[in-house]
Amino acid sequence: MSTGAGASDLLHAEDPGLDQIVSGEQSVTARSPLQLFWRRFRRDKVAMTALFFIALLVAVAILAGPIIKLVGAPGPNVQQTSALDDFGLPSGPSSEHLFGVDPIGRDVFARVLYGARVSLMVALIGTGLSVIFGSVLGIIAGFYRSWVDTIIARSLDVMLAFPVLLLGLGLATACSGENGCAGGLIQPGLSVVIAIIVLANTPYVARIIRGQVLSLREKEFVEASRSLGASNTRIMFRDILPNLVAPIIVYATLFIPANILLEAALSFLGVGVQPPTASWGDMLSDAVSIFDVAWWFMFFPGTALLLTVLAFNLVGDGLQDALNPKGTKSR
């Protein structure tokens, strides 16, 4: 490259529009951080496609009932023995049952759609709670340091060392008795799955936030705020927290697919959502034993799971790039 290149040449690669700005042909318009972020994100074709898929998935999950009616499929819990042969083996995809039926004659299409509800709900609620708990713990630990930090950080280390799947299995076995565990508070089902997800994710979120807070608390704006007499709470949640939004969003997006998989794994192991509620993990688990004669029963929920997780991961990566332009591209 030649040595005499001017500023406009250097910026050229970044944005052709800058050419005009630098050369004075166009006036500079002020953009909010959100606008800046959106401009960057929009350019990421892969992430946009993934985002579109997620939007579609959410719509499908919410509108599962009407969609099923539209295609003429029976409800997710309707058992049609007429769709089974004389040996109780399920029939495959047909105009009547788009994705075939499961071994007790339930429509796989309907169950995949309703399964999306469970997956999304568990992942969003679980991730949301983990982010809230994790952020609060992380901010407190990072801000106060000293013994508060020691207690919180060490507790988080202990939580991180916890074998989450084993815990789930153990809870399911121990709490499947007459009255569940802890006076009936813990019984296999959605609440246990969400509790396990929160337990698994909170320490990760808290650790990351703590690290960020440790550096943020030394920044000038915090000192300024403190010298103006702001309370600790105010500094933590009004001054520091807004600066954490970017990492929180990025990590939350990356936790969601992991949690969808965790929910599927727990349901696969029988700890998750209790039948007859449809869940992708539960369907996969049932499909294993008859895969050689009913591929559709594994293929469709499996594909749904794969695409959903992939989409969230891609959006997560896109967000990271868009929110953190200084960082190296993650892809």
């Binding site: 042969d85 109780g88 499947s176 007459e178 029988g270």
Partner: protein, 594 residues
């Protein structure tokens, strides 16, 4: 007697029902229902020699013939031991003398049972001596030792004078006498408040594995250990023995891996009913994928299945293309959905009848593989038991609410109306607790049952737990107040109907733990009829009496009887398979390879 019976039989059902195959070691006639069955029955012609390979998923419960209480243990005992009587290979309602010389003599009042045994039968090495009546006496005695812990000794031989469960090894039972080397006399004590004894039940139980002779001088030191080590050092009287070394150690048994049977050199063909064609039997365990196992057998040579049936997809393939490789036999058991008669609304007989009438039992059966895996019951005693024909056979008593396998919505509505629900559906709003299996076909059955009950207007709270927890934490505990148990079932111990109905529907057998009267049916007339029938000694009278009890229970509708199971047995092309109609599995001592 009923207390110990209860406990013992519960063990049996727990061990067996997780597998779709079943039968705790009893008897079976074929009831004329197995039209698809092939290749079974007639001991027929077979070629001598060769090695038979049997693929199992798990292991036996106990290798000791005095401890085993499981279909697979019984299969081994039938090949390696001579029990006093053995169910006829192709008609299990007939007990043939095996170690015994002739039929048992039961006194009129049922208080003595006398058995004469064959002379000339020898124990396998290293014992190598002739069997005497004392060996039979010791075999029964050791069943009561706390080191052997036989599961049914108390239930069936507890009425022998002086018998007490859980005694120290070496304790003798004075009620078993051996006047000479070839005679055994069982002296029974009368039932409470009666002058008669349950000699009919004792005589029937002489075909259980516990009656196989055991040499005291050799076994006693092993029985001193806890648990007894006789199983790992056993000697045989049957055509085969577990391969052993000079000291008698059964090196052919590797728990969870392999059971290797070889010919018993001291076996005398002229003293046995078994042809014992093959030279060697190699039982390989750990084949826990039913599809893989089935393919191996179907495409392989000299192989049979053991404790695991082929999955429906394989059954379908065999029935359409390869019928010769499949044999279907009634298991001598059934499965039902119990309705707890102490829980509202099932305390109302009309509600129970309405549910029984409205249930689509074909849908339930489809979860296990459809028509091939069993018949849909019309009453309670299953095919393969004495009393089945007396109870009307396949047609039953013509009870309307058990007549339609697909369920009869109109009839169901009528019974609901009789119970006071004018809409023809249940109208109570309370949640009913149903506890079922959480995996496999059992889980599917539970979900189908729950859905059908919902359609009848019930609100069902379905809890799905492991099969084991379903029994031990819920259905076997009346305190748990489970309204519906969709995955329960029972198997005969031997072809006497008492072994089927008494543990499951006798009101005197409701126990706080280990209960198997899951419906908690407690009807005084039925309890009394059972107490009376237990004391009958004449087989024909017993059959009639228990058939009548069957009718009384059926009319109470305490359960939804939805299948009389059949066992599916598969084999390789070159195997001349013969099924033991009693045990419901291939007979190792009748099957041959070509």
């Amino acid at each position: 007697m009923t207390r110990s019976l209860k406990w013992a039989l519960a063990l049996c059902v727990l061990l067996v029902l997780p597998f779709a195959v079943a039968a705790c070691g009893g008897d079976d006639d074929d009831g004329g229902t197995d039209e698809q069955a092939t290749d079974q029955g007639t001991p027929a012609q077979g070629q001598k020699g060769g090695t038979l390979v049997s693929l199992w998923a798990g292991d036996v419960d106990f290798i000791d013939p005095g401890s085993t209480y499981y279909q697979m243990g019984t299969q081994i005992v039938r090949a390696t031991q001579k029990t006093l009587y053995t169910p006829k290979i192709d008609d299990a309602t007939i007990a043939e003398p095996d170690m015994a010389e002739a039929d048992p003599e039961v006194a009129e009042d049922g208080c003595t049972v006398t058995v004469r045994i064959k002379t000339g039968v020898k124990f396998s090495p290293p014992v190598d001596r002739e069997v005497t009546s004392a060996d039979v006496k010791y075999a029964i005695e050791r069943g009561f030792f706390n080191t052997v812990n036989n599961g049914y000794a108390g239930a069936y031989f507890g009425s022998v004078d002086g018998a007490e469960v859980g005694v120290d090894p070496g304790t003798e039972i004075p009620g078993i006498e051996t006047p000479d080397d070839s005679t055994v006399v069982f002296n029974l004590k009368p039932a409470e408040g009666e002058d008669r004894c349950p000699g009919g039940v004792v005589a029937g139980a002489l075909q259980m594995p516990l009656s196989a002779p055991v040499p005291k001088e050799y076994a006693a030191p092993h029985d001193e250990k806890n648990p007894s080590a006789y199983g790992q050092n056993q000697v045989a009287t049957g055509p085969y023995m577990i391969e052993n070394d000079a000291s008698g150690k059964a090196i052919g048994y590797e728990a969870g891996r392999r059971i290797h049977l070889v010919r018993n050199p001291n076996w005398d063909e002229s003293l046995d009913n078994d042809p014992a064609f093959v030279d060697e039997i190699d039982i390989r365990q750990g084949n826990d994928d039913p599809t893989v196992m089935s393919r191996e057998i179907i495409n392989g040579e000299s192989m049979i299945n053991g404790d695991q049936p082929p999955p429906p997809a394989v059954l379908k393939q065999l029935l359409t293309r390869d019928k010769d490789k499949l044999a279907l036999v009634p298991s001598g058991g059934g499965r039902w959905i119990s309705m707890n008669t102490t829980v509202e609304p099932f305390d109302d007989i009309n509600v129970r009848k309405a549910v029984a009438a409205g249930m689509d039992r074909e849908a339930l059966r489809l979860t296990r593989g459809g028509e091939v895996v069993g018949d849909i019951p019309t009453h309670y005693i299953p095919p393969g038991l004495v009393g089945f024909e007396e109870a009307g056979g396949m047609e039953g008593f013509g009870v309307d609410f058990m007549a339609n396998p697909k369920g009869d919505k109109n009839l169901s509505a009528e019974y609901f109306k009789e119970a006071g629900f004018e809409s023809g559906k249940y109208e109570g709003g309370e949640e009913l607790l149903m506890v079922g299996d959480n995996e496999g076909v059992g889980a599917q059955t539970a979900q189908v049952a729950a859905q059908q009950l919902e359609e009848m207007g019930f609100k069902v709270q379905l809890r799905q737990v492991t099969h084991d927890a379903m029994y031990t934490k819920f259905c076997n505990r009346p305190k748990a107040d489970v309204a519906l148990c969709p995955n329960v079932g029972w198997l005969k111990d031997f072809p006497d109907p008492q072994t089927y109905l008494d543990p499951t529907f006798n009101g005197n057998n409701i126990l706080p733990q280990g209960n198997s009267n899951w419906s908690e049916l407690d009807v005084p007339e039925i309890n009394q009829a059972m107490a009376d029938a237990a004391l009958l000694t004449d087989p024909a009278e017993r059959a009639e009496a228990w058939a009548e009890i069957d009718r009384m229970v059926t009319e109470q509708a305490p359960a939804i009887m939805w299948i009389w199971d059949k066992n599916s047995n598969i084999k390789s092309e070159n195997v001349g398979g013969v099924v033991d109609e009693d045990n419901g599995l291939w007979s190792l001592s009748h099957t041959s390879v070509r």
